[in-house]
Subunit: 293 residues, 2 copies
């Protein structure tokens, strides 16, 4: 059973589960485990690990259009080194501060492999789900894609400082809140844009037409990509970018752009049916799946 | 650096951290990581693991005198087996149901070692901290001690069914809520009674006199203990029992007992100074510490 099949099982009849975060009683709650082998390339500082672990959960809060209240994290390492732990906590605190949330501590554990588990909590009485896209809505993304994929390449190349900088993304909480009255469906791009669009399509029972050339690709991607196909893989399939992917009625776009604190790019449109098409070709449902590693 | 030193570092200047759960904005939040090597003896079913992981976090909510709202859990295993995952989720759901909370899903991961990370959220506007004990207050515990320690012995002896039953404890949420107006300090006994009392003493700036003979020890402890010293270790130092340890003014005891849904036993009294004494001898600050494993 791969992770997606297992997630479906996990969510089968849980009320409030199955979106980026669970919804319960005016709260949104989301939890993520990250670990060294799959999530922290050699060279990732503990500061970056703290930022990124907690940031991944805060991104899920953002994807619900919720304000971020607080986060906790478990830090599990082979040894509990004081400097490493302090750095981790500082990264966790800083990413919380970046979205006006409070980092309120967590748990510690010793473990064979450096592992983190973070949980973020947000508030909203009217969450934006994945399921509201209507044919004709514009498909948009915030910021730029490919940032994390490019960072992994930089880690491999030994450009550790730049890679760490790129790994410390700002969760789009402020923008998520700004979009909550106009976005019809929303999620984050943690599994890659391609998979995100497939997930929006499935939840909203629609299709999408994408324009590859419209994708806002981070400058570093061109620098590290070997060719156009590689550039596509890094920007579209790798994921872990934690941008918002959302749909919005065309008439609301200008207002949304004015309200959002980051760049919003139109990358396609929701359609009738269930096909996901870009430039006349089917877009594979391929992306980041832990179970496939 | 052992786990306790690291926890102090983690909590050094975090507002709302350092008690059984963090407090933020009317919520209490707590997270715990458990893993096979230290927390799930051979024979522990996935149902029990789900119950116990989420239960450990709900116990921290109980220790704040809060109602339990919801819980999430990360399930990380070597392989994602459908039956095992279903069993885990059922255990998690059942322990939530036992305390009127909602289990709202979580995350999945593949990992070298079976590992869980659970987070529970509760609500209270007036949390019971560890820091309010006054000299003269009675020291009390709920339920019976030694249950988990005895279960570990039963796992070792191959009595897996009884051991799993003992491992599935009921978090004392209902009792915690019943005690919140009268308890002056409260925590759970997850690190063992001895360590809990030391922690209450440190937070409340007081000492304690305990009466060993008054301790409510679970029947199974006598069955598995090799002698009196072993019995003491299992009931007092092993921990992981998830009972409430609290202080209360003597005049409020009868009312508290009437309100609580479980047995409450007086095991000592808060004193001036900082000594922890039982039957005239100093009680060592010894208990369950992951970092010591």
């Amino acid at each position: 059973m791969d992770e997606r099949a297992a997630l479906r099982l996990l969510d089968a009849d849980l009320p409030g589960a199955g979106d980026d975060a669970a919804i319960v009683d005016g709260l949104v709650v989301t939890t993520d485990m990250l670990h060294e082998a799959t999530d922290f390339p050699a060279g990732t500082t503990r500061y970056t690990a703290g930022w990124r672990s907690v940031g991944a959960s805060l991104s899920d809060v953002a994807a619900m259009g919720a304000t971020a209240t607080c986060a906790v994290a478990v830090y599990a390492a082979v040894e509990l080194d004081e400097t490493e732990l302090s750095d981790f906590v500082q990264g966790a605190r800083d990413v919380c501060e970046a979205v006006s949330a409070e980092y309120v501590g967590g748990d510690l554990d010793t473990h064979d492999e450096f592992t983190t588990a973070s949980t973020a909590i947000g508030r909203t009485d009217d969450p934006v789900l994945r399921s509201g896209a209507q044919p004709g809505d514009l498909l948009c993304v915030t910021g730029e894609l490919g940032r994390s994929a490019a960072a992994v390449r930089l880690f491999e190349a030994g450009e550790v400082e730049r890679a760490n900088d790129l790994f410390c993304f700002t969760p789009r909480v402020e923008t998520g809140v700004a979009l909550r009255d106009s976005a019809t469906a929303m999620m984050d791009s943690s599994d890659g844009l391609a998979r995100s669009v497939h997930q929006l399509a499935e939840a909203s029972d629609c299709g999408f037409e994408l324009d590859w050339d419209a994708l806002p690709v981070h400058d570093v991607v061109s620098e590290v990509a070997t060719d156009d196909a590689d550039r596509r893989t890094l920007s579209t399939y790798f994921g872990e970018d934690f941008e918002l992917v959302f749909t919005i009625p065309e008439d609301d776009l200008d207002t949304a752009r004015a309200a959002a604190s980051v760049q919003i790019t139109v990358v396609g449109r929701a359609t009738e049916g269930s096909d996901i098409i870009a430039d006349g070709e089917s877009v594979p449902d391929r992306g980041y799946t832990h179970g496939d590693d």
